[in-house]
């Protein structure tokens, strides 16, 4: 059976929570790792907010700090060597970094859940899938084994695993990659959290399965009106599902924009370079634009703008002054909602 449907435009964010505070707010977050080679500054002042029902995509290459930010939100950073010297992570207005371990434990899994990239290594190979799913109910809600198993079967049906009742006692290796990722999604959804963090949820999957999984995720998100932070390096996936995008480079957000705006007219040379460097499916291009050089070593981030050694527009000011996230406006000065660019020359990049 195969369904053919026209993709409809993604509905806009469905407003914030009742209390007025956003669902999740990250403020000036810093994360560093103390290693033998020095201090690696993985996250250097990240700010973003996510509302209920909204999808924020965090886009970046490896080493840009996108996953470390997510781990800090979940509270699963290895500390030490990790350290959070500064910053706030507010969930419904309360700073999670100042909470006790017990308080955080109650939020983790129940209120904020995470979907990991590699389902095979995220699932325990010696426990059945049903046991691992049921663990959520047994630990957080004190259910009996029997009840938990019944709920696990329900969940597996929810994420459309065929013959869930027969497969609940199967082990992770008996499922295909797409099925395993569905089980990860089921596990994250078990307690109907308010926020889901999906760290590269489809990177290990084939395109046809990737489309299935992303559709399922979007459908469930809408049903439960959850906030979703989607961490990825794939500009295509982002265009399909996100409401707004934050582009990260060397631990900083270099550009924020609503999804349509970002692809139409990027306001940061890094974003522009990324967009120009991917080949297109629907047209045969000439030579690809390539951003020269390599992402910086996090123990030795360049002074000024971290992107300056690779930037075609770099001037002296870029090598000395760290650009703040400027508010991006229309040529005439009109406001563009939700846009920001951490580039000294954002005006030239977007308008000229």
């Amino acid at each position: 059976m195969t369904t053919i449907d026209k993709t409809m435009s993604v509905p806009g964010p469905r407003g914030g929570s009742e209390s007025g505070a956003p669902l999740l707010e990250v403020r000036d977050l810093h994360v560093e790792f103390h290693t033998r080679d020095g201090v690696a500054k993985a996250v250097n002042g990240v700010n973003y907010t996510v509302d209920a029902g909204e999808t924020l995509a965090v886009l970046g290459e490896s080493g840009s700090g996108k996953s470390v930010t997510a781990q800090a939100i979940m509270g699963i950073l290895d500390m030490p060597p990790g350290k959070i010297p500064r910053g706030e992570i507010r969930f419904r207005g309360e700073d999670m970094l100042t909470m006790s371990h017990e308080e955080r434990r109650r939020i983790r899994g129940q209120k904020i859940a995470m979907i990991f990239q590699d389902a095979l290594s995220a699932l325990n190979p010696v426990l059945s899938v049903g046991y691992q799913l049921g663990e959520m109910f047994r630990v957080h809600q004190g259910m009996s084994k029997k009840q938990a198993k019944a709920r696990s079967i329900e969940l597996m049906e929810r994420v459309r695993i065929p013959a869930a009742r027969e497969r609940v006692n199967d082990y992770p290796h008996q499922f295909s990659g797409g099925m395993r990722q569905r089980i990860m999604i089921a596990m994250a959804l078990a307690l109907e959290p308010d926020l889901i963090i999906a760290d590269e949820p489809t990177t290990a999957l084939d395109v046809t399965v990737q489309a299935q999984v992303m559709d399922l995720l979007a459908e469930l998100q809408q049903e439960f009106n959850m906030g979703l932070i989607l961490i990825t390096h794939d500009l295509g996936v982002v265009a399909d599902v996100a409401d707004k995008i934050a582009v990260m480079y060397a631990g900083r957000i270099v550009e924020t924009a609503p999804v349509h705006e970002l692809y139409k007219r990027p306001a940061h040379p890094y974003t522009r370079g990324l967009l120009d460097s991917i080949p297109r499916l629907d047209q045969k291009g000439q030579e690809l634009y390539a951003i020269k050089g390599l992402p910086p070593n996090l123990t030795r981030i360049p002074t000024g703008c971290a992107f300056n050694p690779r930037c075609p527009k770099a001037e002296d000011i870029c090598r000395t002054d760290v650009p703040v996230l400027h508010r991006v406006t229309e040529q005439g000065g009109g406001e563009i909602a939700g846009r920001g660019s951490a580039c000294h020359f954002w005006k030239e990049t977007i308008h000229g």
């Binding site: 046809t208 559709d215 500009l235 991917i278 080949p279 690809l288």
Partner: protein
Amino acid sequence: MAELNKGDEPMDATPNVSEVEAAGVAGETEAVAAIEAPVERGEPILQVRNLVKHFPLTQGILFKRQIGAVKAVDGISFDLYQGETLGIVGESGCGKSTVAKLLMLLETATSGEVFYKGQDITRLSGRALKAVRRNIQMVFQDPYTSLNPRMTVGDIIGEPFDIHPEAAPKGDRRRKVQELLDVVGLNPEYINRYPHQFSGGQRQRIGIARGLALNPEIIICDEPVSALDVSVQAQVINLMEKLQDEFNLSYLFIAHDLSIVRHISDRVGVMYLGKMAEIGTDTQIYDHPTHPYTQALLSAVPVPDPEAREGRERIILTGDVPSPANPPSGCRFRTRCWKAQDKCAEEVPLLAVPERFKSSDTPAAHESACHFAEEKDVVHAA
């Protein structure tokens, strides 16, 4: 569903149009010939005919009984021409990497032939095999595991010269290696460094330099950029295109990223469960696909453009790829196909130009293994 009248116009086949126009001046009969004659490519450098690889499944410890076989590659035929890039796409488990291994003669084919310049290389051994291997080289997927961490870059790139000493005289090797480093855009002074001192993109360049060392004619690239970051991917792809022009290389480019394959390939083959589903030029496959699997595959690719996405039709396949140990009867795609009928379960569709397109010169007239081949543009917004 797809509008078929669209296909009557060879919109993207601009070279064809000019050819026809030029021929039209010379005379009516020649114009027809110009349409029907295939594009002149010369002799194929590599001809693959009915290549089959079955991995046996056995039971028992001492007396191993064969109880079945994983049909990884099950009858594949294609040609590779001098200086062209043939892209092979397909989902994981479709057998594309096994094809690469068979062509490199790292696996022995169960049956079928691979002709390199007219000579069947699957039957070769000893010195003759060694001579052929010099001309077919490989670039691997993972630049982290395909380079020996205990060898210097100079030793890694120079190792092919140890196996084929006639390629470079002993005293000349260091200079040759430095030349190769320069060719792939690395500093020749890095010759004594170790792989861990390089980034992923630089390591892949080392892998490419090693592939180039013996001046091969064919390079088989198995997912050469899928382990790299987006901004670095473009650098490596550009390098590979430059080297192809410089050394007149033929690439067999195996990848799962359809956008990259379109960018680099002259022709593209789509594989499904050990068989070729469809093969043609990049325009034929991407703009005028006729096999349902190709259409589903293309429509599932996320396009990095929210505007284009909204008008696109998406075909979401249900289920997973069946096991190659027990493939469906008839057409292998029928279990996931929305067009499947009784005929599909009974008859294996052959890879050929579909009957209905045979007489016309539309870009839809390319080889497709489907009983109900029908053109459908899924890439462009309606």
